[in-house]
Every structure is written in C-alpha cells, then in structure tokens.
Symmetry: C2
DNA sequence: CCCTAAATCCGAAACGTTTCGGAAAAGACA
DNA sequence: TGTCTTTTCCGAAACGTTTCGGATTTAGGG
C-alpha cells in the first residue's frame, strides 16, 4: 500500500505538505502541487479511506437498510430505487451501499449497530410508516439521515411530493369531467402518503359541494396483481365506478389488465388516472391508451435526497427540514368525460 | 462517543487493559474483566470499527458489486441471493453490503476502487463469465474473494456444484427412460456452468452409445418468459422433443405454462426435468405435477461461500481452492418413460 | 537597511484501537 | 533471604490521515 509517507520520502517533502498538496490547499507552491500529484500518480497512491475516516469522522459512505422480500415486483422496484440513489450519490462523490436485512430482522436495531460502529456517514430511509422505529432510532442517535416520504409523527428532514395535492388534482380532474363514482386504489392506511392523498380527494369532492361517499377508497399493496383483483371486484359491482384512480402505475397495469379481460373499454366505459413516479418497469408509455395523471419522477427525488443528505453530513445543518418536489400532469388518453 | 479511554478513566485502568479485557485476553484478572465489561455496558461503549480497521487492517465488511437490472425476475433472484448471503455472513460476524452499479458501469473498476480505498475485507463474485474482468482485477490486487461458480480461464477459489454432473444426471435420467429427442434450455455459451452441463449431457448420450445430435441445446436468459417462448417454438416443431431439460425452475415455469397453453400434458406427452437451486420465488413445490430433477440448495452454497471467504480473510490461506457441493435428486412426477 | 506581510513549508498532535515489550507484585521453592 | 516463575498490569508505538500552530524564506514598502 502506498501512503503519504512514501510520497513524502520520494519527494523529500513533509507528509503535511503532501497531504495539503493533494487536498489542493492554498499554502503550497503550485509547482510543488504538480510534483506531488505526479508522484502520487506514478506510485499509484490511493488515499486510505479508513485512516481518513478515523481522523475526519467521515467515511464518505451512506447506507440504506431494507428488509428482504420475495416479491418480484417489490424487488425490482427496490433495485430501481437503489440504482437511482447509487447514481446520484456517486455523482457527488459519496458511496452508497445497501444492507439487506432478513424479513424478520429488526431494522431499527440494524441502523443503530451500523451507525455506532462508525464508518457510515448517513442514512436514507424510504417508505416510512407512522411512528417509524427506524426514524425514531436515527433521531435518538443524532445520525444524519433523510427520509423519502414523511412520518408526520416525528420531526425529520425529508424529501417528498405534495401527496395531498396528488389526491386533490387526480380527483378534481375526474370530478370536473362529471365522474362521481370514483374508486381510489391506494396503499394501506398505515402510510401517511396514502392518508394525505385520500384527504386531498375528499377535499376535492367538498370543494365542489359533493358528497365524497361516492368515492370508494381501497387499500392494498401497490402491485399489479392487487390492482387486477380489485378492479375485477369493482367491475362486477352493480354500481361499478366510472373512474379508477390507481395509486401508481403498477396498480394501473392491473387495472388495465382486468378491464381488458372484462371487455370494459378504457376510456369509453372506464376512466383511469394515476400518479406516475417514473419507475414503471416497462415505461409508462407502454400503456394503451396512454395513461394520464400527475407526474413526479423519482429520479428528481434522488438528486434532492442526495444533496440534502450531503448537506446534513457536511454541517449539522437542520435548517432545511423539508423539500417538496413539484408536480407535473400528463393528459394522456385514459380519461373521458361521462357527459360525452 | 464512548471510547476505551473513557472506560479506562472510569475504572482507573489503562487503555491497554481495557482493550485486552474486552478482547478476552488471558493476561487480565477475571474480576477485572467483569468490571470492565460492566462499565462498558453501563457507559454504552461500542468499539469504533474505523479505528479498529485502521489498526488491524480489517473492517469486518465484505461486499458484492452487481450491475443494476430492470428485469423483475432477475432483481428478485438477486435479492434472494443477497438475503441468503447477508444471513450467513451476519451469522459469522461479518457485515455484508451490496453496491449496485449502473448497468453501463465498469464493475471491475468498481471492485478496484472499493478495495484500494480500504475498508472492504473481501468480495463475493457471482455469475462469473469466462475471462471475467472482475476476477482478473481482484486477482491482480491480491484481494480476498470467493466466486460462486467458476471461470475456468483463471485460478481462483470458488464454491460451485458439479455442473458436468448435473448435465449428465439429468440427461441420463431421461435417456434411461427411452427419451432421445431432448431439448436442453440453458444459459448462453459464455457461461462455463452451461458449457459443463452440455458436456455432461453429451457424455450421457455417448455412454449409452447414442448420437447426441438428437439433443437440442438452446441458450437463453434463464427466466420464465424465455422458457415459455422456447417451449412454444419447440412444441410447434414437426418432430417436437419428448422431454425438456430446464436449466432452472424459472425456465421450468415457462415450460409448464407453454405446455398447458398448447394442451400438452406433463408428463404424459412431455417430460420435464430441471436443476433446482432452491431459489424459486414461489417454491418448487407449487409445480403441478411435481417437478423432478437434481437439487442443490443455494442456501447450502452460501454457508460455504461465507466460511471460505472468512478463512481467506483471516489467513491468506489459498490452500483450499475449490469446494464442490453435493448434488441431490428429486423424482417428482414430471418425467415419464416413453416406453409406457 | 529595517519592518511587515505574504508565501511556503514543517513538526507534532490527534482520531480510537491493538499490541509489543517490559515492569511490578505475588507466590513458590530452595 | 534470595531467586525464579506466574499473574496482572501499563507505557508507548503504530496504523494513515488531517490540521493547528509556528518556523523559515522571500518580496514589498518606506
């Protein structure tokens, strides 16, 4: 292993100056910097991250701990997220690693162990639940972490979208076109984002002086088979809904499949609208007819998440507590007015 | 952060003795050990892994680098592997982390960067190809690593199954039951395990004095949709095979689906046999009729992989270069003699 | 020519741990 | 009592890096 000392000996300099030269500090002769850099290259020097970590207290590594799963859809979704985060962190010079826990393992404890052993500068938490134990542990430890999503029961820095807005806009878009019997396929009630979306939907009804009892909120794991099953059920009702809000594109895929199977044409006999996080496995443009709804690419979220965590690590700056990403909208061809 | 120094001050001992007490060395009074352990507990001491890593040169972290993918099946498969490895390593006191690279990223370079920065004791490599650049890089660096599978072009320690044996036994089992036109769905020819299995299959033909031209070897990504497609093609041939060897259970799923769709009964009109690595998403026992073939649970592989890597890290012991896991066999109900 | 400021360098300490070499105390044996 | 061994302890160095405080040299201004 080539160390600073090796370079300093090679050049007849002090270790200090070599370190400062490579760190591009001001008080070292530009020529010296050149010589040092050349020598470092020539000798194949690589800074030892462990030693640096010991001295600076930072390792340049951020981690995410997730529970293992056997669901292909969930796995794929997760890996997609990890790829996005990895790319973003490597862009800003941090390394992102994943620790996959056993399904029955205590992830809050794992966060604690990982943090206390040192060597991890910060954490990413995704899919928070209410009273999330991971967040509780990280807060207690004073660790740097940013949450994608939000746990309203605890103060923490987070990057999120306006889920109330999502619910409102999706519902409003349908209500404006005469729909009243609307089914909302979303996550279970233990997630705050789902609660918020439902709240938005209710408000949209209220703002038009309508009774939101006509809306049917159904909670489920947000994967295609569940959307399929729910839609089959819905379409067999006597008063089946005229429109379905799919919480994400995976659910929408299930909706499309069920509708096709029941010979219910989209959008003629059923309008479908969704929130698209840009993470669809096959690309949202593979929907026929094109799927409409709100848009907020998760890839945008990752750059905010990464930057925010970087700031938190650099300075214990908890001034900026939240970052709400903007919402787009795609018309698509999956929504039709019931008045037509 | 509580350090050894804090404990030593608290107890009026030297840092040395505290360290040795916690390390359970011999030359410290049993009573002192007790006191030290109690104080460590009371103060909430956690050894700093970074400092320890700097001194000992070991971090207790092993890593695997994989390329990201968008395929749900591949993702799920990968996560299943990672879960298995994580469990095994955590059992022997090592931490296992995953680094997910971008699909177009140079993983050999990533291994190098990770290793040279220090802080990673060893690596796991899976799904090696011939002349695998990752293996080349790790060998050059002198890093500790173990490969699951084998690259015959390079010397490296590996844990594997007898793939020649797999090909031989699967083919032999069918040949003994009168099958001659056998299709073998396997991976592409760039993988050694596939080459070996094919070699085994050919030898099984030869040992019975048969011409292996009757066998049809088809390479493909080993996921269900590919198995499905291939089987559809095969069943539409004029001289369609009487038996199919599916390289893994995912392919077998595709085979079953296609056969069902073509109204070809298993095993009456088509025998199916596979190699089961115990990683099937839905469990191999969900096949109807029960799928037969060779068995070698990957979970067994992980304990060998973990133990072997641990040994390599402890001592640069490269005496034990290979570990070949035993092969089981399940009769199942998916194979029928053509003579009946 | 002296004084000050800027530019460039270096020694030493520190981060928290492990470990080598020895030291002190206590007991065993003559 | 003196010597030798065993038990129990400790100081100090080391791992590779960063950084504080100061030292030396050079240039600038009067």
């Amino acid at each position: 292993m080539v160390t600073l000392k090796d370079i300093s000996r090679d050049l007849g300099l002090s270790v200090t100056q070599v370190s400062r030269a490579l760190g591009d500090h001001t008080d070292v002769n530009p020529q010296t910097k050149q010589r040092v850099r050349a020598a470092a290259d020539r000798l194949g020097y690589r800074p030892n991250a462990v030693a640096r970590g010991l001295k600076t207290g930072r390792s340049g590594i951020v981690a995410m701990v997730v529970s293992g799963t056997r669901s292909p859809e969930v796995s794929a979704h997760l890996l997609e997220i990890v790829m996005g985060l990895s790319a973003e962190f490597s862009r800003i010079g941090l390394r992102f690693v994943l620790h996959v826990a056993q399904p029955d393992e205590d992830t809050a404890q794992l966060h604690e162990d990982l943090f206390l052993a040192g060597g991890i500068d910060g954490f990413i938490v995704i899919s928070p639940q209410r009273q999330d134990p991971r967040i509780k542990a990280l807060r207690r430890l004073g660790a740097a972490f940013v949450v994608h999503g939000r746990d309203p029961d605890q103060r923490h820095v987070h990057v999120d979208i306006d889920n109330y807005g999502v619910g409102y806009r999706l519902a409003d878009h349908l209500l404006a076109r005469g729909h009243r019997r609307i089914a909302f396929l979303t996550a279970g009630d233990h997630t705050f984002f789902s609660q918020e979306r439902v709240r938005g939907l209710r408000q949209a009804y209220a703002d038009r002086g309508l009774d939101c009892a006509a809306a049917q909120v159904i909670g489920m794991p947000m994967i295609a088979p569940e959307g399929y099953r729910a839609t089959r059920d819905l379409l067999s009702q006597t008063q089946s809904p005229t429109a379905i809000i799919a919480g994400n594109t995976m659910l929408a895929r299930g909706v499309y499949a069920a509708a096709a199977e029941c010979n219910v044409a989209i959008p003629d006999r059923l309008s479908v609208i969704t929130h698209d996080d840009g993470l669809d496995l096959f690309g949202t443009d593979t929907f026929d007819p094109p799927l409409g709804g709100t848009i907020s690419p998760l890839s945008d979220a990752w750059v905010s998440v990464a930057r925010t965590l970087q700031n938190m690590i650099a300075a214990q700056n908890d001034g900026l507590m939240e970052c709400i990403l903007p919402l787009g909208f795609r018309e698509g061809g999956s929504i039709q007015s019931v008045l037509d």
